[in-house]
């Protein structure tokens, strides 16, 4: 037996060397040059390209065609593979990100291993970006030759199969997260729903009525919250945060920190005796945007799900000086315990839906509007709380400063949006609609009340939206003034608003009782850090990036992580809900399979030459490289070598560059392939 093994050790390198030589000398590469209509042929002289590649060593077929991605185009590729017994295929066409999958599939159908097909990108990287036809043609020849040299050394590869954990994680318990969780759970799959705050609900729970139907937000929201909390397939973790995400699609490992509420949720009945007894009563309520007050032990709002209070450690007297404990005495169920600590939960997760939502932009940069200086200059979200029946004024519109009923309200739209100099460049999408809604709600509640709305444009695209803004103008007499506000100041108990009416071409000054700013929607604080924690991309503002703006709008750039709601871009409720359902359907499609196929671009180690220096172990971002014992026949340790776990390896190739003995190589991007690619350039 060992003689055979010894022979093999001698023979295998010989066989490998021989086959390597064969591959290079006996290559029969097919080169397929696509015109892409005029897109490539309009700039690159394709007949010159065909001729140049015909003469290239190892090229058996060099042909051009108008659209290789079309059905007849693909058929001709397949026919050429079969008729010429091609050993590799190069398609000189658009970016591999467009059609690599298409042509690899065609190769597989013709019996050629799909990984023997590569794309030479002569559209995005050549014909579209150069003006000189001659130089573009030269470049196209160069690119194609270099890829031909690479393909000569491509190896037959097979996709890796990995199991799928059928459990989804939904991060964020606003309307988007709840919708995604319910859709996945209703399809019979397990869901873990994580919410940072003590209750489900997100921003939608804070709203009074919703446009364009004016139905009460909480009336449509709370049944969904209860349904999510009681669903047998949903495990609800409120007051919890995702600490870390490791692993990959189908096999994520997620650590969740369950923050201590200091209240035993099993024993607590939500009776509320504790917070009625709490002596610290003047903490500004986050839920009421600072307009209302709360206690140190509190539930964010009356319909909280779950209806268990939490103790705000920063404001609790006991945590400050060890005394008080009035809530403990009040609790008939012994549910309060100050010794509770944060708990960590490790979960195996197959897919993740990120629905972390947005926040309202701080308008401190608009000093001229007086937000923070005058109590009666408020944000749109604060107005929602004033108009809400569950709000601090029980739905009556009252000025925060003196609780009087305002007779004239000025609304300032785009207070932050569409303003590259001070705010954000984008349109926050919902402000035109909610300002119209605010004007309507106000006139419904305060008869004879006057509204003036400063706007830049009215953007009311959506079902029933334009009709809604027309209704605000025509039935509820909202007065729209096209122009910007330059200053707000206080004079004789009134807020003076100076602006311009650009349609009349004259300045205006309005004596108002209250000013409402339609502030921009911006990403959550810490959105960028969180994106790094879970490993997804984000834009300059911190909104999470989709894989493709138009064609893959709900997938993040990381496989297995999907996006829902305003964490991706400003959105209204219908859009958030639609995107949440779309994410859920993506998750369910993933869970419909037993095994997933992964690209076989992974590293592997030559155990014969590995010296066990562990440079690769240090380099690997995924802990995919393990130390493997090599034993002799009697079980004695001969040496330790690096061994790549194909399930964990993501194929970055950092280890390959680290390896001092050239023992590790990356399938699909081997050292030899890249050298050949470089040498293939003229």
């Amino acid at each position: 037996m060992w003689i055979v093994a010894a022979r093999c050790q001698v023979l295998i390198p010989v066989i490998i060397a021989a086959s390597y030589k064969n591959i290079v000398t006996m290559a029969k590469i097919g080169v397929f040059i696509c015109h892409c209509g005029e897109n490539i042929a309009g700039k690159v002289d394709t007949s010159r390209l065909v001729a140049a590649l015909e003469d290239h060593p190892g090229v058996a077929v060099s042909v051009e065609y108008k659209y290789f991605c079309s059905d007849p185009g693909q058929e001709s590729v397949k026919r050429a593979i079969r008729e010429n017994n091609l050993t590799g295929v190069v398609v000189a066409a658009c970016s591999p990100r467009m059609h690599e999958a298409t042509f690899r599939k065609a190769c597989a159908e013709a019996g050629l291993n799909p990984y023997l097909c590569e794309i030479a990108n002569i559209r995005e990287h050549c014909s579209w970006v150069h003006t000189d036809s001659d130089m573009a043609t030269e470049k196209a020849i160069d690119i194609t030759r270099s890829i031909v040299e690479k393909v000569k050394l491509n190896n037959t590869l097979h996709p890796i199969e990995v199991p799928v954990t059928r459990r989804a994680l939904v991060i964020g318990g606003g309307i988007a997260g709840i919708q995604a969780a319910l859709d996945i759970a209703n399809a019979g799959q397990e869901v873990v729903l994580v919410e940072r705050e003590p209750s489900l609900g997100g921003h939608m729970a804070q709203l009074s009525e919703t446009f364009p139907t004016l139905d009460c937000s909480q009336c449509i929201m709370t049944p969904r919250m209860v349904e999510a909390a009681q669903h047998p397939n949903i495990r609800l973790l409120t007051y919890s945060e995702v600490e870390s995400v490791d692993g990959y699609i189908g096999n994520f490992k997620v650590r969740i920190r369950m923050k201590s509420r200091f209240v035993d949720t099993q024993a607590c009945t939500g009776c509320g005796d504790c917070y009625t007894k709490c002596p610290v009563k003047k903490i500004p309520s986050e839920f009421d945007c600072g307009l209302g007050k709360r206690t140190a032990i509190f539930t964010p709002f009356a319909q909280s799900v779950p209806n268990n209070p939490v103790i705000d450690k920063a404001n609790c007297i006991y945590f400050k000086n060890g005394k008080c404990k009035l809530c403990v005495k009040a609790c008939k169920f012994d549910a309060i315990d100050f010794t509770f600590e944060d708990q960590y939960l490790d979960l195996e997760i197959g897919a993740i839906v990120v629905a972390t939502g947005f926040q309202v932009q701080d308008t401190a940069m608009y000093g001229e509007y007086g937000y923070g200086k005058y109590a009666d200059v408020i944000t749109g979200l604060q107005f929602e709380r004033l108009a809400s029946a569950s709000g601090p004024t029980a739905g009556k519109i009252r000025r925060p400063s003196d609780q009087k009923e305002p007779q004239h309200i000025v609304f300032i739209q785009c207070a932050g949006s569409r303003d590259p100099s001070k705010g954000v460049r984008y349109c926050s999408k919902i402000c035109c609609m909610y300002t119209a809604k605010h004007a309507m709600l106000y006139t419904h509640k305060v008869h004879g009340g006057k509204t003036s709305i400063f706007y830049m444009d009215i953007r009311a695209a959506g079902k029933g939206y334009d009709e809604f803004t027309r209704r605000a103008i025509e039935e509820d007499e909202a007065s729209y003034l096209r122009g910007r506000v330059s200053k707000v100041w206080e004079e004789n108990g009134k807020l003076m608003v100076r602006g311009v009416d650009t349609l009349l071409g004259r300045p205006v000054e309005i004596a108002a009782d209250m000013v409402v700013l339609a502030t921009a929607m911006v990403p959550q604080p810490g959105a960028k850090e969180f994106a790094k924690t879970i490993g997804i991309g984000y834009d300059e503002y911190g909104f999470y990036n989709e894989a493709h703006l138009k064609l893959r709008p709900v997938e993040s750039s990381t496989a297995g992580i999907f996006l829902a709601g305003a964490c991706q871009s400003p959105k209204d409720i219908p859009d958030s809900v639609s995107q949440a359902s779309a994410s859920a359907s993506k998750v369910l499609a993933l869970f419909s399979k037993d095994k997933l196929e992964r690209e076989p671009v992974i590293a592997s180690c030559n155990e014969a030459t590995c010296a066990g220096c562990w440079g690769c172990v240090l380099a690997c971002p995924y802990n995919a490289i393990e130390k493997k014992d090599i034993l002799d026949r009697s079980g004695r340790l001969v040496k330790q070598v690096a061994s790549v776990n194909p399930g964990l390896c993501q194929g970055c190739g950092t280890c390959v560059t680290f390896c001092r003995s050239n023992s590790i190589d990356l399938a699909g991007f081997t050292e030899k392939q890249i050298f050949a690619e470089v040498m293939g350039l003229s």
Binding site: R97, T131, C652, G653, L666, E671
Partner: protein, 149 residues
Amino acid sequence: MSEQFEPKIVAFVCTYCTYAGADLAGTSRLKYAPNVRLIRLPCTGRISPMFILKALQKGADGILISGCHPGDCHFTHGNYHARRRWMVFRSLLEFTGIPAERVKYSWISAAEGVKFAELINAITEDIRALGPFVQYHGLVEETQSQVSL
């Protein structure tokens, strides 16, 4: 009338950021100098200094290494490895007599098509100003003659 020198530039880029950024430059129909050839790699962490030397040996006048911005690496921190490796390699380049300004290093994300086009134009002009890279051929001959002794 002498013809303008057209430098050859080889760019080693990661597929997730800079390659996609170059694609975006293409789909946006931005125009830039045709002197660059892209070699697509999974991550800048995969870029071995040997690739750069090989490209220079083959006759490249300039090299560009470009990947995701720090913190944005698709493979969490491959670009940090690349950056650190580049810092070491640059000293080696200077030691061996290869001017470090022929090798450029940059971050370009998938959303920065404009930056890609501008960078290629800038680098092409820089390398054009440096002139053809002939020193390396001399170095190769020197090494070979010593070996033959």
